[in-house]
Symmetry: C2
DNA sequence: CATATACATGTAATCGATTGCAGTCAAAAT
DNA sequence: ATTTTGACTGCAATCGATTACATGTATATG
């Protein structure tokens, strides 16, 4: 029938009404007479009309989309979060634009290009190292753009953030190991510049002190969040004169790399060393040994972050009676998942 | 300075030229006098002008974005592919819209909403079960919309597709096991309705026959692509009267579930049974035992698919001297990665 | 019966950039 | 000197939907 694109005009003609009425019938049905509405709907069906989002967005000065800035899409840790984000956005009819910072050779400035170019209504930042302070400089100076950190947080306390209680996570890990009788507990840190690393290390050290355990700097191993970092860490552990009988890794991936390389080096987990991870990604339950870890509710983090962003976009200020700062920050609890990679400290281990 | 949004008008005024000139200076610099161009650029800088993508898209009838339909964003298998897609799109200045079909309770019809609503210039489909034949019905009937299947393929041969040689993958797996002396080789299938499952099974059976090995239906275990499916499969294997000494799993995830559950049931890989996976996701190298598997170049698949889609959007017909059908389909080679989950068949195994 | 009120609909401006067409002007060709 | 050519630039229409405002009609009120 129609070789051309069907516009609201065509529908109007077929329905015998004005374009304004068609528009209203579609977006504000209650403002239009029932009979008219049905005429319009019929015309829509006949013509096969589909709304042109671009035109609508231009007029309404919206983008209908939200950008998620991901440090590395290839990392499975982020996929569940994105999934959670999607689930919320989809319900509101918003699209999710995914930007892989690694792949894009992402410049800091580009962060808000998406906002200023009307490509997105808001920003979800999954990488804390991306500092967005200059978001305040631009032409939008007066208003705070809708930005929510996800699993992360930035310097400006006015930006929203959704994350877990990292401090608590470390505490749980250490307490668990302490309960199992471990006294020599080491740490494989995340990336050096990362905020998460700092927070978890802080929690770790606090917990160590709380339990009056020794805190040795040589037991603080530099790592990262990757498998490879875990492999390196294994060699470091191995080279230690006095080896900790338990290790807390700041991510499951490092833990896997660590355990795997240990295995190749002839050590066994948890017999020779207990290992606790962080995240509880899917494979943690099925690794051999299954991994004791701190569960982050990743899907939920995504959902909460998306929800918070949506509220900001809608202009709802979050002013629950709480203080300014905490109103912007949502902190979700973590959970210790006990599995096979941790075990009571053995005689043989003590002997070392 | 500017409380309002800066438009091309403002730039034009500051530069003392018309909006047309500004537009040209920005998008077709060569069509504008150097002096003028510099005036414009200066004005852009002064005003802090940012182009409004929505307006541009409306006028140019483009969307500046591509949609990727993902069956389950939470599955790490897809993240690398998305990463590859992103890397190509970013270079062209296109955005990537990610739609999680699971989370969106995705209706088939919505697949081309994105196209018809001008939200996307093309579609990347990572799920073969999503049949897009009705894309031909709509108002766009005459022209084939830019759609490329990624790791998958659909019924309409005119849609593009980029995938690996699944047949070959199965062959490699079986040959490898055969070389190790295995005669009783089982298969854990993927999801029943899935095209990949069919293709890989076909390749598997062909290879089994080629090597004159026994093909027993009870050795064809129903599975899926998930960890859980692998767990189930382990029980099935266990319940078998005559157990295959080697199992080919249609995905790494199933393989992990399978091996893990076997471990819990008191069996060991590769001692009691050799296992080959498919995909070679990152953790495969670090699983214990490390997983022998068929590597899919996932990042590259994403790149190729994005490239192909881009070409289709640009309207370049792919008419390399090849036949119509094959021109649309890119088939990438796979690779056998030998690791520790497979071993020569042992005396004890033969005894069973 | 006249006026107020609410509701339904149409008219036309608007969102911000792009681009076909026409006009200007100087350099090159005749 | 006149015409041709070509390079720039500006005018104004256009993309498709939304919405403020105006208009018209029916019902309620005094």
């Amino acid at each position: 029938m129609n070789s051309k694109v069907v516009t609201i005009q065509d529908v109007a003609i077929v329905a015998g009404v004005s374009t304004a009425t068609v528009s209203r019938a579609l977006s504000k049905p209650e403002k239009v007479n029932k009979a008219t509405r049905e005429k319009v709907m019929a015309a829509v069906r006949v013509t096969g009309y589909r709304i042109n989002q671009t035109a609508r967005n231009l007029r309404k000065k919206e983008a209908g989309a939200v950008v998620a800035l991901v440090p590395n899409l290839g990392n499975p840790f982020f996929s569940s979060i994105l999934s959670g984000i999607e689930s919320v956005l989809a319900k509101e009819g918003l699209s999710l634009l995914v930007v892989d910072i690694l792949q894009t050779s992402f410049e800091r400035e580009q962060a808000y290009d998406y906002l200023s170019m009307n490509q997105a209504d808001g920003l979800l930042v999954l990488d804390g190292t991306l500092d967005l302070t200059n978001l305040n400089d631009g032409s939008v100076s007066s208003e705070l753009p809708p930005v929510v950190y996800c699993c992360e947080w930035g310097t400006d306390p006015r930006f929203g953030s959704v994350r877990v209680d990292n401090h608590q996570g470390s505490q749980l890990a250490v307490s668990h190991l302490h309960t199992l009788g471990h006294k020599a507990i080491g740490l494989v840190r995340g990336p050096a510049e990362n905020r998460l690393t700092a927070a978890r290390q802080e929690g770790f050290e606090a917990a160590i002190l709380k339990h009056s355990l020794p805190l040795r700097t040589e037991w603080l191993i530099d790592g990262g969040f990757s498998l490879e970092a875990g492999v390196q860490a294994a060699h470091q552990w191995c080279a230690l004169e006095e080896r900790p009988t338990a290790i807390f890794c700041m991510s499951d991936e490092v833990a896997f790399g660590f355990i795997s390389e240990l295995d190749r080096l002839g050590f066994s987990v948890p017999k020779d060393v207990s290992v606790v991870g962080f995240d509880d990604i899917a494979i943690a339950e099925r690794f051999i040994p299954s991994l004791t870890t701190i569960r982050q509710p990743r899907f939920r983090i995504g959902q909460e972050a998306a929800g918070k962003l949506l509220r900001r976009i809608a202009g709802e200020v979050e002013n629950r009676a709480e203080s300014e700062a905490t109103a912007h920050r949502t902190v979700l609890p973590v959970e210790l998942i006990e599995r096979q990679s941790t075990a009571p400290v053995s005689e043989k281990q003590r002997a070392l």
